[in-house]
């Protein structure tokens, strides 16, 4: 009796008939790697639009500084791995452990940026950006993040994120890292403590907004519309 409780054939039969009646052909979503690549291509497109602003000589010079180059590498790697992890966790049945993938590059990114600050303390006199530039960096990060966030949320919603908060946080991390990576060629200064703080604040805001709003958006998308 207890075993049969919880199995109501007629109710389920009705639902099966209703769902079968509503069936429309769908195209299976591409693999997470392909979808992540598409999103990264969109981010790269934003970067190309900004290419006119880049002071190439200064950028090449700064990339010869080890910690700046490592921070750039870390940001790019974080964007790539976090984007893949976000798309992988948006598909049911994929392991949640993909969320660990962006952690090593994230450590590299944060660590190398921190080294930049340390260098500034040890060898003062580096090029310190003024308040105007800081505000410019901040608005740059936010302006780049918003369209990339909207795009990734729309793309993630097409799948079925069963852990919406995790997926949204990974998406937010991907957006923040991509925006920081895109800022690097445009950014005319060495890393400093203020700089890192502003970056950290912008990154935190982007991740938090994506986590809160995106998590709800993705959660509703995954629920019963």
């Amino acid at each position: 009796m207890a075993d049969r409780a919880g199995y109501d054939p007629s109710r389920h039969e009705r639902l099966v008939e209703a769902l079968a009646g509503r069936l429309e052909p769908v195209r299976p979503l591409p693999a997470p790697a392909i979808r992540a690549t598409l999103w990264l291509a969109a981010a790269l497109l934003v970067g190309l639009l900004l290419a006119a602003e880049v002071d190439t000589a200064s950028f090449v010079l700064r990339m010869h500084v080890p910690d700046l180059a490592l921070a750039a590498l870390g940001a790019v790697a974080t964007a790539v791995t976090a984007a893949y992890a976000a798309f992988a966790t948006s598909v049911p049945g994929r392991s949640g452990r993909w969320a660990l993938l962006p952690l090593p590059p994230l450590a590299l990114w944060i660590g190398a940026s921190g080294m930049g600050c340390l260098r500034d303390w040890i060898a003062p006199g580096a090029d310190i950006p003024g308040a105007h530039t800081v505000a410019g960096c901040f608005s740059f990060l936010i302006c780049v993040s918003v369209p990339l966030s909207v795009l990734i949320v729309v793309m993630l919603r097409r799948a079925c994120p069963l852990r919406p908060n995790l997926t949204a946080a990974l998406g937010g991390l991907a957006v923040a890292a991509a925006a920081a990576a895109l800022l690097m060629p445009v950014h005319p200064h060495d890393a400093t403590a203020t700089d890192l703080l502003i970056h950290a604040a912008a990154v935190a805001i982007v991740i938090a907004l994506n986590g809160l709003a995106g998590g709800r958006l993705l959660g509703r998308g995954a629920g019963l519309d």
Partner: protein, 223 residues
Amino acid sequence: MILTLPAGPAPRGWSLALGTEQAQDAARAGERNGGGARMVLEDELSALMAAAQGGDTAAYRALLKACLPVVSAIARAQGVRGEAVDDVVQDALMTVHRARASYDPGRPFMPWLRAITQRRAIDRLRRAGRRPREVNDPLSYEAEVDPGPPPGQGLEARDRAAALARAVAALPEGQRQAVEHLGLRELSLDEAAALTGRTKGALKVNLHRALKALRISLTRETE
């Protein structure tokens, strides 16, 4: 007896233990009951889902019907009980419908279905956990047996002992001695005779009369 054996040919050791024919039969049974059957079901469901993605209504209906017992089993394994299992089945089927584009036909179907069902079961359990419940449940007190003595037991026994002592004290001297020595202290007739200085015959007669008197007085008292 249920034989659960891995798929594939039986290892040599089994052939020795069971005899060749028996071992082969067991291995075939293992293929049917174990991994082999699972693989066939997995492939069938995968093919049905791929067809459903293409818009095949019959395949979709067959797939959903095949999913029903699997989904309710997964829900129960997650700790969902009673009518809530039905709700989880409904939620899971609706999610399967909505998320059907996210299934990759090149991958096994079961992990996809299991992930959806487990998530819906957890959602259901969380919702049930948020609903206020009666903590002071009287049924739980009734169901729990107290191993100690019931509360009035000692009082009752003391009352009975006091009533008996009063009745014995009210007996004539000879009868009282007979009851005390023979009935309560459980001495032998010889010991009682030596103690009281009465004959054994007198003691027997007194005991008989005393018991008769006690029976009458105690019966009257309880009435």
